[in-house]
């Protein structure tokens, strides 16, 4: 698994990770390839896996019934897709669809969650990396909700 471990640790999400934790994570990792239009996950699915995007582009979207899906974010190279795996009830809150050919590392979330419970150092290392992403996405999402380019109601 050495080649995969190297790829996992090279991903920006794991920048600065302590060396001993590497094998713990890569032990839960596997390679993925998604063709354009293929879904990584659907809303409501158990969040059993999250993805480190190596290249390509993934659209995060929600489908209101009777309407076209609305894409509210795209994530590309160097980003991660899926944070609900860390927070109960561990369910995907949106659909994730590959826009172009996308290569990603999938991390088995149940596997990683168990290891985090057993080793707080690993748990903290994951939380430390997820929290800034959540904070940034929250700020960005708030900006989107403001609809700054829209016209103010008179």
């Amino acid at each position: 698994m050495e080649g995969l471990e190297r790829i996992v640790l090279a991903h920006p999400f794991f920048a600065g990770l302590e060396a001993e934790l590497g094998p713990l994570i890569s032990g839960c990792a596997r390679n993925h390839r998604f063709d354009p239009g293929q879904y990584l996950a659907h809303e409501g699915d158990p969040a059993d896996e999250f993805f480190l995007i190596r290249h390509g582009k993934v659209a995060l979207e929600i489908l209101p019934p009777g309407q076209q899906p609305i894409v509210f974010s795209t994530e590309g190279e160097g980003a991660i897709v899926g944070t609900s795996w860390l927070v109960p009830p561990y369910r995907w809150r949106f659909d994730a669809r590959a826009v172009e050919l996308t290569r990603a590392i999938g991390i088995d979330a149940r596997c990683l969650r168990d290891k985090c419970e057993a080793d707080p150092r690993l748990g903290y290392a994951m939380m430390k990396r997820i929290a800034p992403i959540l904070a940034r996405r929250l700020t960005e999402t708030r900006m989107q909700i403001l609809d700054v380019y829209g016209k103010r109601a008179k």
Partner: protein, 279 residues
């Protein structure tokens, strides 16, 4: 192209509407040519007060190329009585023009380094003259980046021009939208997110940001976080304008008059005041 001599700065000069182009559902670009004389020279970032007979005046940035002869190019969004009236004009109509006014984008000061333009929505229009200026003197600058964000793919302004620019080898253009349907193969998300992906050296880079004020605040912070110095970031402010010549008081933003100390303002000088409620 000479400067028109205006004895009274309160009096608009008549201009004729030439070409009119519907850009998006609520944005229109018009070319205005003086009825008498030549169009005055203007600098990128400046604006005119456009008058519609009997309706009123509104401040609109010039969105055309300062180096090209011809009339003023203005890109107007229908958001009120006057702008709505302007958006409905046809070729041959007459409007009143006072200007050009205001402080320009620092295109000369940016010489020698990388330049990042960040535009949001209609903000691409006041930035366009600066982009033209930089592209005309391309060899004086390092990396040139244009980041553009808007509401949705249907709202992308100057789309053909953006595509043309993106095809250049000496200009990086990244576009994002706040929301899209599944047919959009581009990026979705706020414009500051594009900063990390663009290839420029933040040290010495000049950032020029134009768009809704919330977007500019957010973007300026993001540029700063990416390593661009606060005194190298410029934004284009907007406030209520009546006279546009510093005599009516309305456009005050702290101690500055947006009409003559702006609209282009250096971010470090206003960063504190930008976050004060109702200043």
């Amino acid at each position: 192209m000479g400067a028109a001599a205006v004895a009274d700065p309160f009096v608009p000069l008549p201009y004729r509407v030439g070409r009119v182009r519907r850009e998006t559902r609520d944005i229109t670009t018009l070319e205005l040519t003086p009825v008498a004389g030549d169009r005055p020279d203007f600098q990128p970032g400046q604006f005119n007060m456009l008058y519609v007979f009997g309706v009123g005046e509104v401040a609109i940035s010039v969105s055309g190329d300062p180096a090209v002869d011809g009339g003023y190019i203005h890109t107007v969004r229908d958001v009120g009585a006057v702008s709505g009236a302007i958006a409905k004009l046809h070729a041959g109509a007459t409007v009143g023009v006072r200007g050009p006014y205001g402080t320009p984008w620092p295109v000369e000061a940016a010489d020698g380094g990388d330049v990042v333009f960040v535009a949001g929505g209609l903000g691409l229009a006041p930035l366009r003259p600066a982009i033209y200026h930089v592209l005309r003197r391309r060899d004086r600058y390092g990396r040139v980046v244009l980041l553009y964000g808007t509401r949705s793919p249907a709202d992308i302004l100057f789309r053909q021009e953006l595509e043309r620019w993106r095809r250049r080898l000496d200009l990086e253009v990244l576009v994002t939208v706040d929301r899209a349907d599944a047919g959009w193969r581009g990026d979705v998300g706020v414009v500051p997110r594009l900063i990390g992906r663009a290839g420029f050296d933040p040290h010495g880079t000049v950032g020029m940001v134009c768009g809704p004020e919330v977007m500019m605040r957010f973007t300026a912070t993001a540029l700063h976080d990416a390593g661009v110095a606060n005194d190298h970031i410029y934004v284009s402010m907007e406030r209520n304008m009546k006279c546009a010549i510093g005599l009516c008081g309305h456009c005050q933003f702290g101690p500055d008059f947006v009409c003559k100390d702006g609209p282009v303002m250096r971010y470090d000088r206003i960063a504190d005041i930008l976050t004060v409620r109702e200043i």
